[in-house]
């Protein structure tokens, strides 16, 4: 697409261009760029330190929570008197299996209803 331009104005714009190159401007920009870099590094170091501190403070409670969760998931739902029966039911006789079964059946039901 070609646009009509006033040739005398075009010449005027071209003539008005000045050479504004200056070392002062370059050094000002680079000083600010260095400041940006320093701030970015300080931010990363700060975040890493904060993360390390959080992990250090929360390591004990987190470990305890994970232990309690794994322990509760393996709790038996029923206690068969026969040792053989309890061994046979072991893979499904716990809270984790119940949750897994619940999720699978929920998914199947969802597909049946909405598919």
């Amino acid at each position: 697409m070609t646009d009509q331009r006033d040739s005398s104005l075009q010449t005027l714009f071209a003539d008005a261009e000045q050479d504004l190159t200056s070392d002062a401007f370059t050094s000002q920009v680079m000083t600010q760029a260095d400041g940006l870099n320093r701030r970015a590094i300080a931010l990363r170091v700060g975040l890493a330190l904060a993360l390390a501190l959080c992990l250090w403070l929360l390591a004990g409670p987190l470990q305890q929570a994970v232990f309690m969760l794994t322990h509760s998931l393996t709790l038996s739902l029923i206690n068969p008197e026969s040792h053989l029966l309890s061994q046979l039911l072991l893979p499904v006789n716990n809270i984790a299996a119940l949750i897994a079964l619940g999720l699978i059946s929920g998914r199947l039901a969802y597909r049946k209803i909405f598919a």
């Binding site: 104005l9 005027l12 714009f13 008005a16 050479d19 401007f25 370059t26 920009v29």
Partner: protein, 202 residues
Amino acid sequence: MAVVPIDYGDTAEALVVGLARSGDRDAFADLVRRRQSWIRNLMRRWCADPTLADDLAQQVFLQAWRRIDQLDQADKFAAWLKRLAVNIWLQHLRKNDALRSAEEYSDKTDATGPPPQAVGGMAVDLDRALATLSAPARLCLVLSYSEGMTNGEIATLTGLALGTVKSHIRRGTQRLRELLSAYQEPPPGTIPPRTIQAEAEP
């Protein structure tokens, strides 16, 4: 011991851009040296205030430094820098709510703005004449006349409608012609427009 910056001299710009993308500070400083005059001139045309223009030009280069790793093609650096400059200028206008207010009074200003005096250099006069236009009109005119961009390219770059760009350029050109008539050579055998203006005044 002071670190001496590397002088890239006549190295191809695309190569210097590639080095700057990999975090080479000296390469970026070289790009600033190469492109500052162009960006500062553009900003001066847009805002008519050398101090503000230099501040905004600095912001352009700082944003370029922050985002240079996002530049896909090193040979498109100039176009990318121009887009950053336009965005910085538009952000500045939005921050000052200048776009809206300029649209509101552009017609009035276009009709009654004081003509610049042919003193203080052509660049100053051109900036003064441009300052009488609305900010979007100035943006479109400078991109058209300084950068040689087509109306379609300007519309894409600025996000303005093509019709709006055309109208800004048409009215802006008309206005600049009137204001800068002193710089335009009259056709042979005619009275210069400035003289006509002077005679018309009581």
